[in-house]
Symmetry: C2
Subunit: 256 residues, 2 copies
């Protein structure tokens, strides 16, 4: 099991409105939880603007991550430029994607919209993209494979993004991660964080285990919350070491 | 006025807990609003882990931004490594900062904590840093100047981060921005986004103006919300052009 390499994800949220503080970025946190739950480690989350500066962000993401998930910038207006920025990042021309065009036409017909150039733009994707259906809104998403990376391009509207991610993950990320990481959490009374310093330092050498301690004391009764998370499944051993350190310092597991 | 260069900020939030989806990153949004309100344009927000990978993130931020604000990783535990990562990013050795040491000692005395090595670590900062007092918690923050960039290093606990940012901004960012950007917002009934496409395309050539349109229609009555934000103060002209386009397409300002 030690040779299992955990897939690495970067989440890129594109949009000036987040940078201007006009909109709270709830997409990134949701995607972090979702990716973690299927066993993919999120290594970076970037919010960058709807302009050329994001080309380098997307390019670096594709070079460095196994899974890149972008949100935002797929709509009909001029600042919806994600497909263009991605085509520049990948060095691939934009083309009208036939399946995306069908989706845009169908949605326009259902809702009685005209097929303006702005709406047709929503079907333009880098060559080789597979269109993803938007069941909530109108702008299609896309999946691209580039080198060893898979890129999932989602809309920015949370309800659209969530539905599309879950549907795409089922098809394109299945079997990539090994399911949710193991996770153990406990609080020990009667100790302070410093009592665990030795054990923590030892555990810090294993980068596949994430350990977080937090003081949870009240006056007269210190306490420490311990959280252990590992994608490689070795939570129990890490937890046992911390428990030993806690008990030998006089700690008592809360709830015992 | 046209030669005024808007200061650019990068916000870097360090912490595995956000990447694992354990904690919602509310710090980044708060800082984006705060920086915007003093006239500093946030160009990138990055969340990256408590490990060596963040060295390059911090280095790039310092090279590219006028203001870098980091949050997280200042506490006593082994995964609180921001000062180390920053020292690596800047190529500056860590030293015990005398003012930070005073702060740590004072806080330990007040709260009856022992001065363990883990606590003393909180006073280690890159050479040349100015320590920032933490009035809410125990870990000091820091301000560094590097090349033309100013770096503000804040704790991750929101209440500590907010207090420290506001105090530091008052001293170190005063006069850097020109106050809040102008902002105009209105909704026009009887038009769709496509009616504004020409005017929007025209406005998109001026990168100092951010214009966002959003459909706000109900069945039988389409409507478009227009938001104009500009750090350079030219909102009114942009808004007038959109208003003209909206009216000539039959739009009516909501509330008229």
């Amino acid at each position: 099991m030690t040779d299992y390499v955990i897939p690495r994800a970067w989440v890129i949220t594109l949009g000036n409105e987040v940078l201007l503080g006009e909109v709270e970025n709830t997409n990134a946190g949701w995607l972090a939880r979702r990716l973690t739950s299927i066993g993919i480690a999120v290594r970076r989350i970037v919010t960058s603007p709807d302009d050329e500066e994001s080309i380098e962000v997307l390019r670096e993401a594709v070079e460095r991550a196994d899974v890149v998930v972008s949100t935002g910038g797929l709509g009909p207006t001029y600042d919806d430029r994600t497909m263009y920025l991605l085509s520049r990042a990948l060095g691939l021309p934009l083309e009208t994607n036939p399946r995306a065009l069908d989706m845009v036409k169908r949605r326009a017909a259902e809702r009685g919209f005209q097929l303006t150039p702005a709406r047709l733009k929503m079907a333009e994707m880098p060559v080789g993209a597979e269109a993803l259906e938007n069941h909530v809104g109108t702008a299609p998403g896309a999946v691209l494979r580039h080198g060893s990376a898979i890129i999932i391009v989602l809309p920015g509207v949370p309800a659209e993004m969530m539905q599309m991610f879950d549907e795409a993950a089922e098809v394109y990320l299945r079997g990539m991660g090994r399911g949710p990481p193991c996770r153990r959490e406990a609080t020990f009374e009667g100790i302070v964080e410093a009592d665990l310093a030795g054990a923590l330092l030892e555990l810090s050498k294993d980068s596949s285990v994430y350990v977080k301690t937090q003081p949870r004391g009240k006056p007269g009764m210190p306490a420490v919350r311990i959280l252990v998370i590992s994608f490689k499944g070795n939570c129990d051993e890490a937890f046992r070491r911390l428990e030993e350190a806690a008990r030998s310092a006089g700690g008592r597991l809360l709830g015992e």
